[in-house]
Amino acid sequence: MHPEITRIQSMLDAQGYVADQTLATSVYLAIQLRKPLLIEGAAGVGKTEVAKVMARALDTDLIRLQCYEGLDATTSLYEWNYQRQLLHIRLQEHSDIPLEVREREIFSEPFLLKRPLLAAITHHKAPVLLIDETDRADEEWEAFLLEVLSDWQVTIPEIGTITAQHVPYVVLTSNRTRELGDALRRRCLYLWIDYPVFEKELAIVRRKVPGINGELAQQIAAFMQFVRRAKLDKTPGIAETLDWSAALIALHRDHLDQEAVEQTLGVLFKQREDAERIRTQWLDHLLRGVEETSREPRPWSQQTIDRVAERVMPRR
C-alpha cells in the first residue's frame, strides 16, 4: 500500500474511526487531487464522521453546512447584519458624514455575516468544508454550489470579488433522497459506504464502547448482520449499534437473550412499526442466528455469518 494511504488509515484509526482501505484511498485522493469527495450511503453508516475525522487528521478546522429544503445562496454564503446596520444608521442619524460614506460603511466587512461557504473561502488555512445531506437542498442551490466549487470565488456587490486563498477540502454527503445532478457528480470523487461487514462492525463496537466484554461485542455484531437482512422501513446503522451496545451495558447484560433484546428494542429501532415487526416476525430467527453462530468455530467472520444466515433466516 502507498505509505501515504497507510498513514491516512492509521490517522483515521487514531481518531477513533475504523477505516478500511477503500475509505482511506478515497480520502487520500481527495486530499491529493484536491477534488471534492461525494460520499453516499444509507443513514447511519458514518458519512459525516469522515469529514470530522479528516479535519482532525489534517489538523485544520471543520466548517459544516447542513443542507435543507429551501436553503438558498444567502443562508449558505453571507448575509448582512441588518440589526447592526440599523443600529449604526440610528447612531449616526445626526452626523454630518455624507450619505455615500455612511452607506459604504454599513456595507463593509464588519457588517458582514459569513455563512459556511464564505467562511470556508476566507479561512486562514484550508479547512475541511462539509456539505451535509446535499440531497436535501434543491436544484437551484445545487447549481449555485457547483459554481462556487469550480471558481472558489464569490462576488459581493457592495464589496467586490473575494477569492479563496486556500482551496478548502470538500466533503459532500447524500442519503439519496433526491438524485444529485450529473454535473455535480462529475466534479467529485465518489465513495459509497455500505453497512459494515461483521469484522468491521465488531472492531467499531470494541473501539467505541470501551469496557464491553468480548462475547457480547461479537454477539451484537452478529445480531446486527442478521437484523439488516430483515425487511424494515429503516435499517439500523452503526450509530444504532453503538447506542444499543451502550444500553445493554447500562442494563448489565453480558449476553444477548430474548429478554435483553425485547427490553432494548426501542434503542435499535426508531420506528414503532419496525420494532413491532421485529418482535412479532423476526426475533426468533435473529436469536437463533446468534445462537447458531456461537456454535461455529472462532474467530467468526462475515463468511460465518453468511453461512448461518443461509440456514436460519427466512428466504425473501
Binding site: 500500500m1 502507498h2 485522493l29 441588518y82 446596520q85 452607506e103 454599513i106
Partner: protein, 381 residues
C-alpha cells in the same frame, strides 16, 4: 495530457482505453475523468492492484449504480478470462473527442448501447394480440371525424398547458422581504423603514418528458397521441418527446415544425421502425444513459405511453424503471388499454413496470386526455 502521461507511457494508453470502454458501457467518463484517473494513479502505488482498482473506482464512478458495472469492466479489462495477449489492454487510440469537445453522433451512441443490450433476440413482428380491442375508442373514428378530433385534442392540450402555468404562478405568490434593498432604501430616510422591498422566487415550470411507444401494438393510439403531444409541446414549450419501439429516437425538434403534417412526416422519416416490435426496457435504458442527465430532474414529469408489451428482457425493463422513478419527479404511465373494459395489466412487462409508476392511467379517449392535467399539475412526489 502530455505532462501527466510522460512518466507512464504504456499505462496512459491503457487507462485511456479503459476509460473508453467504461464510457461505452454508459458511465459518464470523458477526457477530464481520464486525466483525473492518470493523476490518481500517479499518486498511488501502481504495482498494487487493489490500490489501482480503488483509485480508479473513486475517480471514474459517480453513483452507486456505476459500481457493479465498473467492477465488471475492470475485471474484464485488466484480467481478461482469455489469454492475456489477445483481449487485454489493447492498443489504444486517442480519445475521439479529446480536443474538440464534440459528442459522437447520437445514432452511433444508440447503436452502441443497443449492441450491448440486445442479447441475441430476433426482431419480432408486432406483438398485437389485442388488435380487436383497439376498434373501440380512438381507433373507431373515421378519417373525417379524425380531423375534428385532432382539433379537439389540440384545444384540450392548450387548456391543459395554460392551466398548468396559471396554477404554478398562484402557488408561487408568496413573497419574501428583501432586507438588503429595504435597508438601502431606509438609509435615505435616516434608517426609518417605510417601504418594504420584496423579492420573488422564480417561477418553476414543470418539465415534461414524453416517451411514446410507436410499435405495432400501439400504432393506432400513438399516431393519435403524438398529435396530443405535439399540441402540448407547442403550448407548454418545455416538452421533450421521444418515441421508441425497438430503438429510441428523440423527435423534439421534428415536433417543433410548425406544420403538424410536416412534423408527422418528419417523425416517420426519423423513426426507422414505426410499428415494429417493442423493446421497452432497452429503450428506457438508452433514454436513461443518453438523455437522463440532461432531461431528468426532481421536477420532471415523465410520461410513458405504452401498453407494456415488451418483447425484450423483463429484467432490463424493471431495472430501468427503478432508475427512472428515482431520478424523475414523477412517472406517469398511460396505457390506452386501461380504458378497455375487463383489461388487467397482466402482461409481463406491464406487471414489472407497475410498482415503479406513480400514476397509472388510461389514454384511450378525449376524457382521459383531459384528466392528464390533474396528474401533470401535482409536480412533486
Amino acid at each position: 495530457m502530455n505532462v501527466v502521461s510522460r512518466p507512464f507511457g504504456d499505462l496512459t494508453a491503457h487507462v485511456v482505453a479503459f476509460c473508453r470502454r467504461l464510457r461505452a458501457r454508459g458511465l459518464a467518463v470523458g477526457p477530464k475523468e481520464a486525466v483525473d484517473a492518470l493523476r490518481a494513479l500517479s499518486s498511488v502505488d501502481v504495482s498494487d492492484r487493489r490500490e489501482c482498482y480503488l483509485a480508479l473506482r473513486t475517480v471514474l464512478t459517480s453513483r452507486k449504480d456505476d459500481l457493479a458495472l465498473f467492477d465488471l469492466v475492470f475485471e474484464d479489462f485488466w484480467n481478461p478470462p482469455q489469454e492475456a495477449g489477445d483481449h487485454g489492454p489493447q492498443t489504444p487510440q486517442p480519445l475521439e473527442n479529446a480536443g474538440d469537445g464534440q459528442a459522437p453522433p447520437p445514432a452511433l451512441m444508440e447503436w452502441l448501447d443497443e449492441a450491448l443490450q440486445a442479447q441475441g433476440e430476433e426482431p419480432m413482428p408486432a406483438y398485437s394480440p389485442i388488435e380487436t380491442l383497439t376498434q373501440k375508442d380512438f381507433s373507431a373514428f373515421t378519417a373525417e371525424e379524425l380531423n375534428e378530433v385532432t382539433r379537439l385534442v389540440i384545444a384540450i392540450a392548450r387548456r391543459v398547458a395554460t392551466r398548468l402555468s396559471r396554477r404554478t404562478r398562484a402557488t408561487q405568490r408568496s413573497r419574501r422581504i428583501d432586507l438588503r434593498r429595504t435597508i438601502r432604501h431606509s438609509l435615505r430616510r435616516g434608517g426609518e423603514i417605510i417601504d418594504l422591498a420584496y423579492r420573488r422566487r422564480k417561477i418553476q415550470k414543470t418539465r415534461v418528458v414524453l416517451l411514446a411507444d410507436v410499435s405495432g401494438s400501439m400504432d393506432l393510439y400513438s399516431r393519435f397521441l403524438i398529435q396530443f403531444i405535439y399540441a402540448l409541446q407547442h403550448a407548454l414549450g418545455q416538452v421533450e418527446t421521444l418515441v421508441f419501439s425497438t430503438s429510441l429516437t428523440r423527435i423534439t425538434e421534428a415536433m417543433s415544425e410548425d406544420d403538424l403534417r410536416q412534423a408527422l412526416d418528419e417523425v416517420a422519416k426519423q423513426v426507422p421502425d414505426w410499428s415494429g416490435g417493442t423493446k421497452i426496457g432497452a429503450s428506457l435504458r438508452v433514454f436513461l444513459n443518453r438523455y437522463g442527465g440532461a432531461m431528468l430532474t426532481p421536477r420532471t414529469v415523465v410520461i410513458v405511453i405504452s401498453d407494456g408489451w415488451d418483447t425484450g428482457d423483463i429484467e432490463v425493463l424493471e431495472r430501468a424503471m427503478v432508475e427512472l422513478q428515482r431520478r424523475a419527479g414523477r412517472v406517469i404511465w398511460l396505457n390506452p388499454l386501461l380504458g378497455s373494459p375487463g383489461y388487467e395489466p397482466i402482461c409481463q412487462g406491464m406487471r414489472a413496470a407497475l410498482p415503479y409508476v406513480d400514476i397509472f392511467a388510461s389514454a384511450h379517449n378525449l376524457e382521459s386526455l383531459r384528466q392528464l392535467e390533474r396528474h401533470l399539475a401535482a409536480r412533486q412526489k
